[in-house]
């Protein structure tokens, strides 16, 4: 082994022995440090994975959704509205959508009802999301009844339960035929909830939206890019809420770490004095302390990050679920695609390992350049 490496190993040996002399204090610091990295990393990994998933799957959503507004509220699309759109250049397909919400008093949960063409769902049948099926104990060929808002009772046969893999999108979904949808909600004929437009050229989407607003001033086009942007912001916001809650803990740790790293105890000062008196150079003392900082912060960073990864991608982020769940009764079970962003890891590393190691240096350098006799007194 090269003399340089051997010297570093001796410095590490000495540092560990010195840390072991204040075992409780240093172990406590390591545990708190690891926990902090764990929480921050869990938050980052979870939000990033959800963001990536939303971005990928919602790239398939309609290019433009056209809503009609009445007195500032979303209203039904009346007959003739689709025709008014006419032939706007670039619009490949326009389709009236029928969907709405139903409150189920049995589960005390909201479902999203959506009409599908008869070729997909026959009259009297429904297809339901996995979370709904699980909560109501439904399986294929079971019958379920819903009391409509007008008080009438409707029975449906479950034709299929949607794939559990799609739960993040379809947890509360009930797909039924257009006829059943109109009868159930007493939707007037020819009316739609909104209109989905397909635009072939992505460059044209904004022009199409501008033309729609000009043709139909009471309409509100929602572009796919806006939908995707909403999801980027939603997770930023949820992440922000947790970070706000954690801010106190982060500050407390910062104070603890700063105090531990920058304020040398009398015992530590004496130790440095003795080392200098027996012939250690200032550089050796600083190197020893850098090793101390690196060993603690690297162990905490790596340990915290690995625990966060396992927590988020193998245990479904159990710690955060109550916050994310909010007041939802139906909550999807989903596995996120482990998405680790190198830049995120680097940012987390920089903000956790670097400040701690840097905070150690100044006071050590100050103590190490003073006269050993003065330090030991």
């Amino acid at each position: 082994m090269s003399p340089w490496l051997e010297k570093q190993r001796h410095l590490i040996d000495f540092t560990l022995a010195s840390l072991a002399r204040r075992k409780t204090r240093n172990l406590g610091l390591l545990v708190v440090y690891t926990l902090l990295v764990f929480v921050l990393a869990s938050l980052t990994l979870y939000s990033n994975a959800l963001r990536s998933e939303a971005k990928y799957v919602l790239a398939g959503s309609p290019e433009v959704i056209l809503q009609r507004m009445v007195a500032g509220r979303h209203d039904l699309i009346p007959p003739g509205y689709l025709e008014k759109i006419g032939r706007i250049r670039g619009v490949q397909k326009k389709e009236g959508r029928l969907w709405g919400y139903y409150y189920d008093p049995v589960l005390k949960a909201n479902y999203t009802f959506m009409a599908r063409p008869a070729s997909e769902v026959a009259d009297g049948s429904i297809m339901v999301g996995e979370a709904l099926a699980r909560e109501r104990g439904l399986a294929r060929n079971n019958t379920i009844s819903f009391r409509s808002y007008s008080g009438k009772l409707f029975s449906f046969e479950v034709a299929a339960v949607l794939s559990p893999d799609s739960e993040l999108l379809s947890a509360d979904l009930v797909l039924l035929s257009e006829g059943d949808f109109r009868r159930f909600f007493e939707y007037p004929d020819g009316h739609y909830t909104d209109i989905a437009l397909s635009v072939a050229n992505p460059q044209e989407v904004r022009n199409v939206a501008a033309k729609l607003t000009a043709t139909l001033p009471d309409s509100r086009p929602i572009l796919r890019e806006e939908v995707q942007r909403t999801y980027q912001s939603v997770f930023d916001w949820r992440e922000g809420i947790l970070l706000t809650v954690l801010a106190g803990a982060i500050l407390a740790f910062a104070i603890l770490a700063w105090e531990k790293a920058s304020g040398l105890s009398a015992e530590e000062k004496r130790e440095i004095g003795i080392l200098k008196a027996i012939g250690w150079e200032t550089g050796d003392v600083i190197r020893m302390k850098i090793w101390e900082g690196l060993l603690i912060s690297l162990t905490a960073f790596l340990g915290g990050f690995l625990a966060a990864y396992v927590h988020v991608f193998h245990f479904g982020a159990a710690v955060f679920t109550p916050v994310l769940k909010g007041w939802s009764v139906l909550y999807p079970k989903f596995a996120l695609v482990p998405a680790v962003d190198g830049l995120q890891v680097a940012t987390l590393f920089f903000f956790t390992v670097f400040p701690y190691t840097a905070a150690i240096l100044v006071p050590i350098w100050r103590a190490a350049i003073t006269d050993p006799d003065a330090v030991m007194r």
């Binding site: 799957v57 959503s61 500032g72 949960a109 979904l173 790596l302 007041w327 939802s328």
Partner: protein, 114 residues
């Protein structure tokens, strides 16, 4: 007896291997999850879905991208409440109480249609 540095460096080496392991796993599992992601994107396209079914408690949380102009979350997802009064008013008691109740599957247990 092994030197303390051997133990510490082995531990760090193990943790670094763990980090490389999870990075490799994340790359491999992206490929493994690809079929599911593609199927979900196809479902979104087929049904014309616009939102994730993450928060089903209210229409503006179930479909935040479709919420009307005067509902909460519309101006910006961070704008959960438009006015300061929103942070002072507690949610209606019946809403929070309902959430605490546990639900049992009822299919097959009822004698009459619900």
């Amino acid at each position: 007896m092994p030197r303390p540095s051997t133990f510490a460096l082995s531990l760090l080496g193990l943790l670094v291997c763990g980090l490389l392991g999870v990075l490799a796993e994340s790359l491999l599992s992206t490929a493994r999850h690809q079929a599911r992601l593609d199927a979900n994107r196809e479902l979104v396209a087929r049904l014309g879905l616009t939102d994730l079914a993450l928060f089903t408690e209210a229409r503006y949380t179930r479909h935040p991208s479709q919420a009307d102009l005067h509902s909460a979350l519309q101006d910006h997802p961070g704008a959960f409440d438009h006015f300061p009064s929103g942070s002072l008013l507690a949610p209606p008691a019946h809403l929070t109480r309902l959430h605490d109740e546990t639900h049992e599957p009822v299919a097959g247990k009822t004698t009459s249609p619900d």
